[in-house]
């Protein structure tokens, strides 16, 4: 991975802004960590059988044909898939499942508190009710397909979006790690010729999937990747030239030149392979529709379900939920709409998997970088907090709470919810119980974290 070595010596504004572990690390000097995944080389090609354009990170020596063969060889109709869904910004757990009968809640949330009769009761804890927008989760929970993590977090929480998110992505409170928690698992178990083993359904690689050895892929769903311009020579001829520009400069000594060359080469890899995806993904269920970027999430989930059913060898997938949960002001409206689109899309995905008969193969892990402050701020919003909420969704999910609701009577010294489960324990349990894999190989200090029971 020569690309990687070069990048590690590089210096970027991103690394300046990347917070460090908080103690003893000068964030501002050379040699500081890059965000996970930024050092991987990248190529694009088309999986002919599925008509999918894929950007591949890593796997330097292999041709597209070898990837295609690797994918074909690894095709599976019974392998398990772990799907990571990120709620960006730090979702307000005290709104998703709210303590409807606690006077302290109404004292802390004079503007934001939901009404005692809003939403529906949480069947496992009579103190709590679901936000009306989370009705779909309540439904799946009553079917025994949702495990709620009502106080997920870690000790000494960091309140920076960028730092806390990095911790969750790399699976450790360690600013030095460059590989994602799922990426290290793929490095340990994956194949050199199967980039679909780690699939980022996004316009860029989700850092949780960043690997050090094996290739992973990024895909924005159905493809519209034309390079057509009037009065030029045919697209194929131009793309041929782009490929040659990429090849001719692939060994340039300059990092930026090599990056630009790699980008040019990607275009060629798509040359004459752009089989139309015009028909789109055929889903057996209706997904929520949404204008603008919000529609990306249900569209990508629908594509993921179709790909899994087709036998494409996906082991870990990662997506971002729609919306922005960093609700410093006027939280009620944006949270309600973003949460609803997220939940309804996840419910549609679950129904889709069930309709295709592959529900037992997929487990969805929903997470956010932190929860929010118990006391609302002056802007009808909430500031950055500590422990937050997460979910595990699937027909195989145990359907029981992992950790308890921490309660408002025992906030930490900054007025935040205290964690009742550690995300690294959940990660470890996912490896051991879902993938039958020793977590100690990829989660630092894995033995220190209690393992919840995740599956039925």
């Amino acid at each position: 991975m020569s690309e990687r070595a070069c990048h590690c010596q590089d210096f970027s504004r991103t690394e300046l802004l990347r917070a460090t572990a908080g103690k003893g690390l000068p964030a501002i000097e050379g040699g500081m960590p890059l965000p996970a995944g930024t050092g991987l080389s990248r190529r694009s090609f088309l999986i002919r059988s599925a008509g999918l354009a894929v950007a591949v990170y890593g796997g330097g020596g292999l041709t597209e044909r070898m990837f295609a063969d690797g994918i074909a060889n690894a095709a599976t109709t019974d392998g398990r898939v772990l799907v990571s869904v990120f709620l960006e910004g730090g979702i307000d757990s005290l709104s998703v499942l709210f303590p409807a009968f606690d006077g302290a809640y109404y004292d802390l949330r004079p503007k934001l508190a939901l009404n005692q009769s809003d939403g529906t009761p949480f069947t496992e804890d009579p103190r709590l009710r679901w936000h009306p927008s989370a009705a779909g989760l309540d439904m799946l929970h009553r079917e025994g397909k949702v495990s709620v993590l009502p106080g997920i977090g870690y000790d000494h929480p960091d309140k920076s979006h960028f730092t806390s998110r990095h911790y969750w992505e790399v699976g450790a409170t360690d600013a030095h790690l460059l590989t994602g928690w799922l990426g290290r698992y793929l490095d340990a178990t994956g194949k050199q010729d199967n980039p679909l083993q780690g699939l980022s359904l996004d316009t860029f690689l989700q850092p949780a999937l960043a690997t050090g050895k094996v290739p992973v892929a990024s895909l924005d769903g159905p493809d519209r990747y034309a390079y057509t311009v009037a009065n030029l020579e045919p697209e194929a001829d131009l793309l041929e030239a782009l490929a040659e520009l990429g090849t001719a400069n692939a060994k340039a000594s300059d990092t930026a030149l090599r990056q630009a060359a790699a980008a040019a080469a990607q275009a060629h890899a798509l040359r004459d392979r752009l089989h139309p995806f015009d028909a789109g993904v055929q889903s057996p269920v209706q997904y929520p529709s949404s204008s603008g970027n919000g529609g990306d999430f249900p569209r990508r989930l629908a594509g993921l379900a179709a790909m899994i059913e087709q036998g494409l060898p996906i082991r870990c997938a990662a997506l971002r939920a729609p919306g922005m949960f960093d609700t410093h002001a006027n939280e009620s409206a944006s949270l309600a709409s973003d949460l609803k689109l997220t939940v309804d899309s996840l419910v549609a995905f679950q129904r889709d998997l069930e309709a295709r008969g592959i529900g037992d193969r997929v487990l969805v892990h929903v997470w956010s970088e932190f929860g929010r402050r118990a006391r609302e701020n002056g802007s009808a919003g909430t500031d950055h907090g500590a422990a937050g909420i997460g979910f595990l969704i699937g027909t195989r999910a145990k359907g029981q709470m992992i950790g308890e609701f921490p309660g408002l009577e025992n906030l930490d010294d900054q007025g935040n919810l205290r964690p009742t489960a550690d995300f690294r324990g959940v990660y470890s349990a996912l490896f051991e119980q879902w993938f039958d894999f020793d977590a100690a190989q990829v989660i630092p200090n894995a033995s220190q974290f209690a393992r919840p029971t995740l599956l039925k």
Partner: protein, 435 residues
């Protein structure tokens, strides 16, 4: 301690790099002319440029009507891109773009093109002046007040959003030894209380003002010092924090050079900066530093790439497509992805490369050209390179384009079509994507 100065040759190639890093690339002949002046005079011509003039055709929409940057969707992007294209003070615009990234404010959260353009003017007015003045102005800039909820931060219920980012992203950096604590975040929020705005239907947030009754007049303790602090004090305290100069220097440096400064340079620049928080001398030292002139290349930000092509071609803004193309290429002005700004490690990926392809396609003349049928491949390439102001290409890329032209002739394409295709391909070379 002096900052090292580049002593090597300063030819058109060096001037070309300087103009791309400190602006939006050369206009035809500009690099050669600048090279004749020598490094110091060249840098000063950028950092001390005199009064700005806008040269070239006025911006219009696709039907030839004047643009409406305050109102029409996308015209804010057109307005600023036009200024980058036509300005005679490109470093001022480039620094304004850098400050837009540094104090990243998105109209997604502000909801008013007028407030965004007002902020843009504030960033420009302070682009090379005092960072202290800039920070004070940005702290109470209406777009920023609304974006990070400063206008909803009261003594009864402080909102931490600005107070946190003020330290984490704007002045000190997160998680550094001797940095700030969560208590400092809360106390900063208290010091910053008191600003309000009103939301008027059809206008958006307006009437920003400081309301003394909403300001917390109690004692705050920030960085271990106590006092009845207000927003002026918030700014003063972060500027005098020991971690600020190193953060300022390293971040400013990162906009011009892709490798970290050596320890001596970092230290010397900090010393220079601490003496009055002046931006211009630090920028001048960076632009004259050997690391800029001899170090690795940088990927051009999409906006610089687009503006540079138009400057070279002498073409103005005559289509609203530039705003949408900015989205495709990964940099829609006035809409940074979050408060940390754009991620320059991600300028080039499959999607944004295609966005740049269409930026180039939109910049160049539609073609096909009227190239005579007797031109050779080498002549066609020479003409296409000349069209783009003869950018410096390596032999590898040059040979690829030459082979492309030869293939075109073999395949019986018209010379005009080949020349237009070469014009499209030149800006997609790795050399042109970077500087």
């Amino acid at each position: 301690m002096a900052v090292p100065v580049y002593k090597g040759k300063f030819t058109a190639a060096q001037a070309e790099r300087l103009l791309w890093r400190a602006g939006f690339g050369p206009k035809p002949g500009e690099a050669a002319a600048l090279a004749k002046r020598g490094l110091k005079a060249a840098v000063y011509s950028l950092t001390r440029p005199g009064t700005e003039q806008l040269v070239g055709p006025e911006p219009t929409d696709d039907r030839g009507f004047p643009i409406a940057p305050l109102d029409a969707v996308g015209h804010d992007h057109l307005w600023w891109l036009d200024r980058m294209v036509r300005t005679t003070t490109p470093l001022v615009e480039r620094m304004t773009l850098n400050w837009h990234d540094w104090f990243a404010t998105s109209n997604r959260g502000v909801g008013s093109q007028k407030l965004m353009l007002d902020q843009n003017e504030t960033l420009r007015a302070n682009a090379l002046g005092s960072f202290q003045d800039l920070l004070l102005a940005v702290t109470v800039d209406p777009a920023m007040l609304h974006w990070l909820n400063g206008d909803q931060n009261t003594r009864l219920a402080p909102n931490e959003n600005y107070g946190r980012e003020l330290m984490e992203l704007f002045t000190l950096g997160a998680g550094r030894p001797g940095g700030y604590s969560e208590t400092d975040v809360r106390e900063q929020a208290r010091a910053l209380t008191g600003w309000r705005s009103q939301r008027v239907k059809g206008v958006g947030p307006t009437n920003f003002q400081f309301v003394p009754a909403l300001h917390d007049t109690g004692t705050k303790t920030i960085f271990g010092q106590s006092g009845n602090y207000d927003w002026h004090d918030s700014c003063r305290l972060v500027l005098t924090h020991p971690n600020h100069p190193s953060y300022f220097v390293a971040r400013l440096w990162s906009y011009f050079v892709p490798t970290a400064p050596d320890a001596k340079t970092q230290s010397a620049l900090e010393g220079m900066y601490k003496d009055g928080y002046q931006i211009r001398p630090v920028v001048e030292a960076i632009l004259m530093h050997p690391a800029l002139h001899t170090g690795p290349r940088m990927v051009k930000p999409p906006t610089a790439y687009a503006a540079g092509m138009l400057r070279t071609l002498g073409r103005g803004i005559d289509t609203a497509a530039w705003a949408k193309l900015g989205v495709l290429a990964g940099q829609r002005l006035f809409y940074p992805p979050n408060v940390a700004g754009w991620d320059e490690t991600r300028w080039l990926d499959t999607a944004t490369f295609r966005g740049r392809w269409y930026l180039a396609a939109t910049a160049l003349d539609k073609g096909p050209t009227d190239a005579p049928a007797n031109l050779t491949a080498a002549q066609l390439l020479s003409r296409a390179l000349s069209y783009w102001g003869s950018p410096t290409l390596g032999k590898a890329s040059h040979d690829v384009l030459l082979r492309f032209a030869q293939r075109g002739i073999t395949r019986g394409r018209s010379r005009g079509q080949i020349e237009t295709s070469l014009r499209q391909l030149v800006p997609t070379t790795p050399e042109y994507q970077t500087a």
